[in-house]
């Protein structure tokens, strides 16, 4: 049993049978931790999937089962623990697709899809207003799509439209400008990356979004794309391979890109007297394999005392905001965030940094509720403070 575990996925029918019901996943699952019932544990859900799909009883799909499937943050902690090496994240996505194919998805999922198809972003705002946040820059017009730029910044829906997240793209734009990076954005031609469609089971719809974005990147002759949203990054890096076939595009998360700029001496950082901890976003860390870049950035700031959370890197706890859980069960999502906030509190950190807008939104709400004297910052905002 000596080969380092590589996750596998064949078909839902086969993997559901391969599951050994050992329960390692249960111990790691944040949803099980707050719900407490076996049906909320990954092994419970897979047991039911086995009865329904492996044994070909699609009529056994019940509302209870659909509810439990939607109670999942897609954090991948179960895959990390799986004794039979099942890529359970793929399994959950496959299950949600099967449920959608049967027309039995939660109502909230249908609403997400309909809105995305209509607006091309996760809000009801006009997609042409994607650069509204940039009005606070000295020269907002510099961000309009431009052919042949060295780098395209894929802003993402949350940063583009949620006022409370606008500081993140502003920080990134400012850092890139300060570092004299030749960069652009896709402006109103940027559509949602497609992740909300993949995660709700509407994979075919997501392909239209991925295809559109890839076509626009090609039209702009872009060969390096950076994303500050961990989920957008994940889609570009792992779900767009078919659409990108034959095209040379380097996809990086902003943590990777900014870390390189720091190493190249293009960003000079001043002293910050803070205790900083880092929350690994699931799609960046466990599901994306990027652990070092954000830590390198934090540790490169003079004066900063970096402390790890009790569960970090591959063992990190989810913030509760993934997998569209908030749209179907905000109460469970908030309880999961609370688990993470307890760990943040235990570090004594004055700043908790992350690299995902959704994580940051969840943590801000929970930390405010807990009245903790801790600031939540995106890693780009931390860099900006140190510039």
């Amino acid at each position: 049993m000596s080969k380092e575990s590589e996750k596998a996925y064949s078909t839902l029918e086969k993997e559901s049978l391969i599951c050994g019901r050992c329960g390692y996943c249960r111990s790691a699952c944040p949803v099980y931790r707050v719900v407490g019932w076996e049906s909320a544990a990954p092994r419970g859900k897979i047991s039911m999937a086995r009865e329904i799909f492996s044994k070909q009883n699609p009529n056994k799909v019940s509302d209870d089962f659909v509810k439990r499937l939607s109670q999942c943050t897609l954090c991948g902690a179960c895959a990390n623990e799986c004794s039979t090496d099942i890529d359970t994240r793929k399994l959950w996505l496959d299950l949600r697709r099967r449920i959608a194919d049967l027309g039995k998805e939660p109502k909230a999922y249908g609403a997400i899809r309909d809105n995305l198809l209509a607006n091309k972003n996760i809000t009801t705002f006009d997609n042409d207003d994607r650069l509204e946040w940039a009005q606070d820059l000295d020269e907002p017009e510099q961000l309009e799509p431009r052919v042949g730029a060295d780098v395209a910044y894929f802003v993402g829906c949350v940063s583009a439209f949620f006022p409370q997240a606008a500081q993140i793209p502003l920080a990134i734009a400012e850092i890139l400008t300060e570092s004299e990076v030749d960069f652009t954005t896709m402006g109103g031609e940027e559509w949602c990356c497609g992740f909300p469609l993949i995660s709700t089971g509407f994979v075919e719809n997501s392909e239209e979004f991925i295809k559109h974005n890839v076509e626009k990147i090609k039209e702009l002759d872009i060969h390096t794309l950076i994303a500050s949203c961990a989920s957008c990054y994940h889609v570009w890096k792992h779900d767009s391979e078919d659409a990108l076939e034959g095209y040379d595009l380097k996809v990086m998360h902003t943590t990777e890109y900014l870390s390189e700029l720091i190493k190249q001496g293009k960003i000079e950082l001043n002293e910050l007297d803070e205790i900083v901890t880092f929350h690994d976003p699931c799609d960046l860390g466990r599901n994306g394999g990027i652990y070092d870049a954000p830590r390198e950035i934090i540790n490169s700031i003079p004066g900063v005392q970096f402390v790890e959370l009790a569960h970090n890197k591959a063992a990190s706890l989810c913030c509760g905001g993934g997998g569209n859980l908030q749209s179907v069960d905000p109460e469970t999502a908030a309880k999961i965030t609370q688990l993470r906030v307890e760990e943040i509190k235990a570090t004594g950190a004055t700043i908790v940094v992350s690299a995902c807008q959704q994580c940051e939104q969840m943590l801000i709400a929970a930390i405010q509720k807990a009245k903790l004297p801790v600031r939540v910052l995106d890693i780009s905002q931390l860099i900006l403070e140190a510039l």
Binding site: S2, L17, G20, R21, C22, S27, S39, S54, S62, T84
Partner: protein, 482 residues
């Protein structure tokens, strides 16, 4: 179960109790995928209600209700065994103990920790490691298995070789008896805590345990390839008799290596012979001695082939993942046998003879857990989606146990499915004593009924043996390629 009592419990425990069919169905099974066609006509595995108590007082309260109304109670935490140990067979109350979690206190001077029974071994390990300590031993299913759960089984696993059984490390336990009485038990009390080891939840609910801990030491890992089972045993004995005691020793036979190789995770891509993994923990001096033991063994004997150290370390990293072999399934059937290591080569030889006789591919792996005994898992691939063939394949489990019995072994754990073989596990005087204890403590027979002491009527040894032998005969004639 009386509907009024169900409602009373639902009202009292709110969102920590449920009688939903959807939820209950998941508590009617454990790891073993035994077909409903076989289970449902014989047993009522569906609990009437599941309750998740949060503390000892609530457990006692539930027990008082059950005791007053003669309701069967099945305690369950990790639910990670395969013999229906924590699956009800007479419905009743399923007590989910997963909220009874966390460390109660650490005595660093006395080197012991008091821990709630529903804490997993990995959770305890993580807690102790942060303080430079570690459990003395733990099961090979540590990420899911709980402290109380392993104590309720036999408690032999990783670390037992050096530190003995879990029983030898437990200083006290807190128990809720069937009538709701709560008592702390030690070796001196009546009953003594020893009564509860391997009791599989049939005497009461264990809520808290005080166990010895050890210093977290550095480790050294070795992996040796041997040409056959006889040389494997010789090597095991040489290691066991050396002055330094291994922390853990596990092995895989030739067929298991082949199965791993076919799936792409055989250590160092080895496909032939057998392997032994040996793990040492201790001071630098002890680890130096361990290195010398292995070095002298390999230098003196050319047939002992050491596998690169990094592979041995990886093997240790993957110590909880034996189930990975299930990827060759989809299903796996098998038997875990408590076997004198002296007879390991003869046992493995007979297993291979059985493989040929039944056109099966049996493979074995296990842990040497004392200087004399090993727990040996002998398994084969099956497919639970073909129900009839799968049920017939179950007869092979009995045949494996027969080989174990022939060589002085017996099933490791009883639960429901091994209850027809309880006479092989315990000698008659021991069994009489165990039954007397059960009668003394649980005269109403409400604690996890149908397990451990005698088989239910339909599974009595005669019926079981005859039924399984007939199925094995069918398997032999028609089962090639199943």
């Amino acid at each position: 179960m009386n509907k009024e009592i169900v409602q009373e419990l639902l009202d009292k425990y709110g969102d920590r109790a449920t009688d939903s069919m959807f939820e209950r169905s998941l508590y009617a099974r454990d790891l073993a995928p035994v077909p409903s066609l076989l289970v449902n006509p014989l047993f009522n595995t569906l609990p009437d209600i599941i309750v998740r108590p949060a503390n000892t007082e609530e457990i006692a309260e539930i027990m008082r209700t059950a005791y007053a109304n003669n309701i069967p109670v099945t305690p369950r935490a990790g639910g990670s065994t395969v013999y229906f140990d924590s699956v009800p067979i007479k419905s009743g109350i399923l007590m989910d103990l997963n909220l009874i979690k966390g460390v109660v206190g650490l005595d660093q001077d006395g080197m012991s920790v008091t821990v709630n029974a529903g804490t997993t071994w990995s959770e305890l390990d993580e807690y102790l490691n942060n303080k430079g300590l570690a459990p003395k031993s733990f099961p090979s299913s540590a990420p899911a298995a709980t402290i109380g759960g392993w104590f309720c089984m036999m408690g032999y696993g990783i670390g037992s070789m050096k530190y003995g059984s879990l029983l030898s490390q437990v200083k006290s336990i807190e128990v809720v008896f069937p009538d709701g009485k709560v008592q702390k038990l030690t070796r001196e009390t009546k009953p003594a805590l020893d009564w509860f080891v391997a009791s599989e939840g049939t005497l009461g609910v264990i809520t808290e345990l005080e166990i010895e801990v050890r210093k977290l030491n550095n480790m050294k890992h070795f992996l040796l390839q041997l040409p056959d089972a006889v040389r494997m045993l010789d090597t095991m004995k040489a290691i066991i008799s050396a002055p330094i005691v291994p922390y853990n020793m596990h092995f895989s036979d030739q067929e298991c290596l082949k199965a791993m190789h076919a799936l792409g995770f055989a250590p160092a891509n080895i496909e032939t012979g057998c392997i032994i993994g040996i793990d040492y923990e201790g001071s630098d001096e002890e680890l130096k001695q361990a290195q010398e033991v292995i070095d002298s063994l390999t230098a003196a004997n050319r047939i002992v082939n050491p596998v690169p150290e990094e592979t041995a370390e990886l093997e240790w990293e993957e110590r909880f993942k034996a189930l990975k072999l299930k990827r060759g399934g989809p299903s796996v059937l098998g038997a875990e046998v408590w076997l004198p290591i002296e007879n390991l080569p003869a046992y493995l030889n007979d297993v291979q003879r059985m493989s040929r006789g039944y056109s099966l591919n049996l493979f074995s792996y296990g842990h040497v857990v004392t200087p004399e005994y090993a727990t040996v898992m002998t398994t084969f691939y099956a497919d639970e989606t073909h129900t009839i063939k799968y049920i017939i394949n179950l007869s092979m489990v009995k045949k494996i146990h027969d080989i174990g019995h022939k060589y002085g072994g017996h099933p490791y754990g009883v639960g429901l499915w091994n209850s027809p073989m309880v006479g092989r596990i315990h000698k008659p005087p021991q069994l009489t004593e165990l039954r007397k204890r059960k009668q003394n403590i649980d005269s109403k027979g409400i604690m996890n009924p149908g397990k451990v002491y005698r088989s239910p009527l339909m599974l009595n040894p005669f019926n079981y043996s005859m039924g399984m032998n007939v199925l094995a005969g069918v398997r032999k004639v028609f089962g090639k390629g199943w």
